[in-house]
Symmetry: C2
Subunit: 407 residues, 2 copies
């Protein structure tokens, strides 16, 4: 596996474009197109929130229909959630405009939206934007990067990555982009992630690879515990790498999934570390658990606690909050067996043994906790299972961004 | 039912005292005693956190033993949680010191602790404090108020209330005090609440009254989603009102429970409104639900969402966040049937109908949301059940208090 430059346009036959359609923001791009020169197998995972945004309902239909897909239209600024029949109608209008300007089938157009909930889409601006996107699309690495920038909301940087693997003597490329920031507590997949590959792969294998991987990546991050109405991860495969078609369950499938995992984990960690107001990525590893489900519950509970997150913001080794968050996670463990460690590039320190504080150096702990990436490790000494979750610190910045986001 | 002045010393035969034992704080009281001149029936509800503080384990034993109780020793500053066998030993030492200085049975002494997790108790200071408390205790209303002040941590005001009812021609008094502030997401009862009554009542009726009422009061509040290791609600009844003994299931029991509910709801709301950094009490009413369990899940999910809470801090009618929080609550409902309202003493306004925004006045909404007590009402139009939850806004103050609490 090799890391290469780029994102959604890294794989053969994929193009992208972005434009400033003026949907909500004034001085920045807010629409992106991902386009494949040939129709793709499409896989998707979507929010488990009972309240599903119109584009989530639309995409679910498209992916479930088995129809091949050739374009994804994404906008930031308005989420098109809680918009009723009118909002769903705008998805149809969007797909039809894309079909018209791109010369593709409307029922193979996927849509992603992110932004404020409860506002109707200014559909004229959106349609005008699609015309611009269609005229600008190209296969350059830069156009992929610009697409990753256009889908940001309060994200402070764009998120993309691409890797290559060899399959049957052919180079297969996988690239992706994502956005996150707030309302991030994915329960199926993250806010918005779009991954493209030129792999030849069956639809079954594509969907399974995505579904199996989101549970260890996007579903293990949290910024604020709020599961969005718009969470969407889309994986498109156009087959232009001309490799022997990857079937589910084969060694090639495992290799493809390992490469996809690199993309997903990278994007998920970037989303967590770029949570609204965040100054640090907070990684939580639970080891020695009885089973993976318990390890995940414990890791997520720690990563999601407002109190552990403010302690990280304060570079404070307030380990009691970690044990407390484990205690209400729903997972069973013996509090009097827990060992706790903090780790970062400044070193590693053990804070507690068998549930009781050690006489650790506060100075060293503060130094370790002052890094931009901080890991807490909890060993519950019950078995061999482990899990990792990612969150961020909770700071004044989060309050500033969210106390008056809508206006 | 009549509201009267006072708290834990309002009922006949109860005394209280407070002192500055120097456990953690420098310039304030940090220990309180609640004492009954005669032994009491005792009821208790405790945290469901797997990690239980030493005093929680101690009190559970005392309450379950059926032993009558005559004293409660409470300290703020150190929680005595995650302190192992050493910490539990200090509970025994505390009870024995109380027995010695108060002339009561050690196995009828209850203990409450609140503060930082993972630090051992300075037992010599605690024992010295008990000697002072024993010498100062008295039945004045003021001593009850001072006890309510001594148990505060980051609380900005003390919380107490007392009411009287008539039972069989006798006046029965119930009074209580509580503290809250941070790590408030009770799942059994709140951080610390102590209620005293001079009612004659069976132990069974006393425990049932408390257990039945906490689910609608303390268990319906949240400051930060973190269920504490120390949550404790204690209800003591000494029988000095000389009323006919209240039995479970009788009309007198219902009357007693209604009075207890007034105390519990008052203290719970005060805890929510005085959440760390809070500037507003955020009340959430869910009506028209299929059943009470669903109504509670929906109400708590809204009250606990970081995003709704920051919107309240910003006086922003960001109703999409409310619907989003309902959507991931785990309760089933039809998003396209939801009506939403905001209400406060500045008026009431409907924001959404059948899940879609109305053309409401933003100015009026901001005025309503700028009050110190704000109510959101969600009507899911499925049935007759309803529930109320209480939280608070999420502000810079919460971050300030918690980013460096321990040091």
């Amino acid at each position: 596996m090799e890391m290469i430059k780029g994102g959604v346009t890294a794989a053969k036959g994929f193009e992208a474009a972005s434009t400033a359609a003026g949907i909500k923001y004034k001085d920045r791009t807010d629409m992106a197109l991902v386009y494949s020169q040939v129709p793709c197998e499409a896989a998707g995972t979507f929010t488990t929130n009972v309240v599903k945004a119109a584009p989530v309902k639309w995409d679910r239909q498209v992916v479930d229909s088995g129809k091949k897909c050739q374009a994804v239209i994404v906008n930031s600024g308005i989420a098109n959630a809680c918009t009723g029949a009118e909002g769903f109608g705008y998805c149809k209008d969007t797909a039809e405009a894309a079909a018209k300007y791109l010369g593709v089938d409307a029922d193979g157009v996927l849509i992603g939206s992110t932004g404020v909930i409860g506002k109707q889409m200014p559909i004229d601006k959106l349609v005008a934007g699609i015309e611009v996107l269609a005229s600008k699309k190209n296969a350059s690495i830069e156009s992929g990067t610009e697409a990753a920038m256009a889908i940001k909301t309060t994200d402070t940087f764009h998120k993309e990555l691409a890797v290559t693997i060899e399959v049957g003597g052919k180079t297969v490329t996988i690239g992706g982009m994502a956005k996150g920031s707030g309302m991030i507590h994915p329960n199926m997949c993250t806010m918005l992630a779009f991954i493209t590959t030129d792999a030849a792969i069956t639809k079954e294998a594509l969907q399974k690879a995505l579904s199996e991987d989101v549970v260890d990546t996007y579903n293990m991050i949290s910024v604020d515990g709020d599961t969005s109405t718009n969470d969407t991860a889309i994986l498109l495969a156009n087959g232009l790498a001309e490799n022997p078609v990857i079937e589910y369950g084969t060694p090639e499938y495992e290799e493809f999934k390992a490469a996809l995992h690199v993309i997903d984990e990278y994007l998920a960690k970037k989303i967590a570390g770029d949570g609204e107001g965040a100054t640090a990525l907070f990684e939580v590893k639970v080891v020695g658990a009885e089973n993976v489900a318990a390890a995940k519950m414990l890791a997520k509970s720690i990563a999601c606690s407002n109190l552990t997150k403010t302690a990280i913001a304060g570079h404070d080794a307030n380990w009691g909050r970690i044990v407390c968050a484990m205690g209400y996670s729903g997972a069973q463990f013996d509090p009097e067996k827990v060992d706790l460690f903090f780790e970062s590039k400044a070193g590693k320190i053990q804070i507690a043994e068998d549930g009781v504080a050690l006489d650790f150096s506060e100075e060293k702990a503060t130094e370790i906790l002052s890094q931009p990436e901080v890991t807490a490790i909890a060993d519950v000494k019950m078995g061999e299972a482990q899990a990792t979750a990612w969150g961020c610190d909770l700071t004044h910045g989060y309050i500033e961004i969210n106390a008056d986001y809508r206006s």
